[in-house]
């Protein structure tokens, strides 16, 4: 593939940087660069998934109890919202490729709206956990981890932890730290992604991207889909693992 670069000299595109021979080489480099970056992201989240796996394996009951206390509906809705945003992001790339600038901007804005919706729902969930005193450690000073535990024989209260044999409040706290670490890191990636999209939107409106030149849109899309994939795993691992035992 390297052989083709030197001979041909196409008309220089304004988006072509000086050290590349042509647009193909530049495009290939930026796509590969983003994939390599995603590899680092996989390893980054991998460390947390490892910790999750270890403690879920060590403390299965506590993890099931703690997981049941998460709001499955908010989690499921958020999953759908994120899939929608991934879909519109894919369409953004598509519209750029075929040169439909108006649609490209529309889908980009839709993607951002879905992204913001996700973060909003996440905030609602965090608030619920705050109200139930489920913020682990001293993450919020003066607001320690102190959930009330459901007592036997009393009417079920969804704000209380329903401990089953083998589950302890201490290990529930461990689950909640992993939950906040993983979803928090995921949310941070969403916020960074939204920031990137603001920049993309700015240049899209000025008509910078089209069939000839759209690496930035394309690789930002890769990043956004990756963040979506992380959530695809977080949803079942965090929200669904104890549903079969019933207690809410």
């Amino acid at each position: 593939m390297a052989e083709s670069y030197a001979t041909e000299h196409e008309v220089s595109h304004p988006g072509l940087q000086h050290h590349f021979e042509n647009m193909d080489q530049q495009r290939e480099a930026s796509a590969l660069g983003m994939w390599v970056f995603l590899v680092t992201e996989i390893m980054f989240f991998g460390g947390m998934f490892l910790a999750y796996t270890l403690y879920r394996w060590k403390y299965p009951e506590s993890f099931e109890v703690a997981s049941n206390h998460l709001d499955i509906w908010l989690g499921a809705v958020n999953t759908v919202v994120l899939i929608c945003s991934s879909f519109t992001m894919a369409l953004t790339v598509y519209c750029t490729q075929i040169g439909r600038q108006q649609l490209q901007i529309l889908f980009l804005v839709l993607t951002m709206i879905f992204g913001v919706t996700f973060l909003g729902i996440k905030a609602v969930e965090y608030k619920q956990k705050y109200d139930d005193n489920l913020i682990p450690g001293r993450l919020i000073p003066g607001h320690p981890f102190n959930p009330s535990v459901q007592e036997e024989g009393k009417p079920a209260d969804k704000h209380k932890l329903h401990l089953i044999p083998g589950a302890t409040v201490r290990n529930v706290e461990l689950f909640y730290w992993i939950y906040f670490a993983m979803t928090g890191m995921h949310a941070l990636h969403m916020i960074i992604g939204l920031g990137i999209m603001l920049v993309l939107l700015f240049f899209s409106v000025r008509g910078r991207y089209g069939p000839e030149y759209h690496n930035p849109i394309e690789i930002s899309g890769l990043y956004w889909h990756f963040v979506d994939i992380v959530w695809i795993f977080l949803f079942p691992l965090l929200y669904l693992l104890g549903r079969h035992i019933g207690h809410g």
Partner: protein, 98 residues
């Protein structure tokens, strides 16, 4: 070396499949399967969803072999990290050799 443009139809089909997958995984979570099957079912559905996103939304299916290798490397190294760490934890309770 022009790029492949995926049609809207494919995108839409994948989108629907992802929605179905989400409903499915939430629904089956309420059934108790024997042994480790609960986790296996949930992870299988998640892996299929992730694969759809990677193959079609991220255009992996139409990408060069190099991209496959790069992505495969990430999975391989992730597997190393998990396998060797658990080689420790899963054998801790075994009887001592001596």
């Amino acid at each position: 070396m022009s790029e492949h443009i995926v049609s809207v139809k494919v995108y839409f089909a994948i989108f629907l499949a992802l929605l179905v997958g989400t409903v499915l995984t939430a629904w089956v979570a309420f059934f108790d399967f024997p042994g480790p099957l609960n986790a296996i079912v949930a992870l299988t559905i998640a892996c299929i969803k992730a694969a759809l996103v990677i193959l079609y939304f991220m255009h992996m299916r139409y990408s060069s072999r190099l991209i496959w290798v790069v992505f495969g490397a990430a999975l391989f190294w992730l597997a190393i990290m998990f396998a060797l760490t658990f080689s420790d934890y899963s054998t801790r309770s075994w009887l001592p050799v001596f």
